[in-house]
Amino acid sequence: MKYVSEFRNADLARAVSSEIASTIDPNRHYKLMEVCGGHTHTIYRHGIKDLLPDQIELVHGPGCPVCVLPMGRVDEGISIAEKPEVIFTCFGDMMRVPGSKGNLLEVKAEGADIRMVYSPLDALRIARENPDREVVFYAIGFETTAPSTALTLQRAKKEGIGNFSVFCNHVTIVPPVRALLDSHRLIKCATYSCRVVAGNSSGWKQAAD
């Protein structure tokens, strides 16, 4: 899927906008919340609010795992990455997140061995290939991503890989969304983290649906 061409197709956007307008109950007020700060920026940058009928109010939500990461956690990650014996691995999401004195991309430019990975399993492979270095994976994400970190640790233990460790910054989506649902306001949770959790909790799934 090519995001630039398909998501920015004006004809498609107008068609979706029309369908939304024809689908809603004009006598009802809807509140929709996105979770991620990146989504918030996209909504504003591309004027999505102006494509929606007046009955739909966009409420900006709790933030994604990257958005809500405390600056101190970034600083701690950087201090680990700066150790000469460390190969520091992380998702691309984290490279430009600012700490109090810079970000991982800047620290990498200064000589730290920081490598972007798609999966924590890639970080484990790096550890396997570099037995003389300590490979640290900067773990971050909601319930959707946490299983991949856990699975990687299980594999590391099973294979006896002693030079792999995780700096864990996983967060959960359930508490803030449960608080919002308990306020009896309609929420559309479009992220896979909400689907993952909803699929494993019948009561919460009913509320989420």
């Binding site: 899927m1 398909e6 991620c36 990146g38 798609y118 399993l121 994400g141 959707t144 299983p147 993952v196």
Partner: protein
């Protein structure tokens, strides 16, 4: 951990080469199992991209089955159909 989610495998699904952030996009990518050995499966997305996916969380798997993946790990099964 397994779950049933109705997601179409028609073009338009997220693909393995999506350029969004792993955590911010929180994208689940449907892929079809081409082959498997041990804890890994060779899978293919709707665009024809192939990658090795960890399958410990959803075993046993079958060739042809559609899995939902995130960060290189299969986190659920997908039944074909409209989302």
């Amino acid at each position: 951990m397994t779950m049933q989610i109705d997601i179409s495998m028609t073009p338009g699904s997220c693909t393995l080469d999506h350029d969004g952030c792993i955590t911010c996009s929180d994208a689940g990518i449907p892929v079809r199992v081409i082959s498997f050995e041990g804890d890994d499966a060779l899978c293919e997305d709707t665009a024809g991209n192939r990658a090795e996916i960890a399958i410990e969380l959803v075993v046993p798997v079958e060739v042809g089955e559609i899995l939902l993946t995130h960060g290189g790990v299969a986190i659920g099964r997908v039944s074909e159909g409209k989302s």
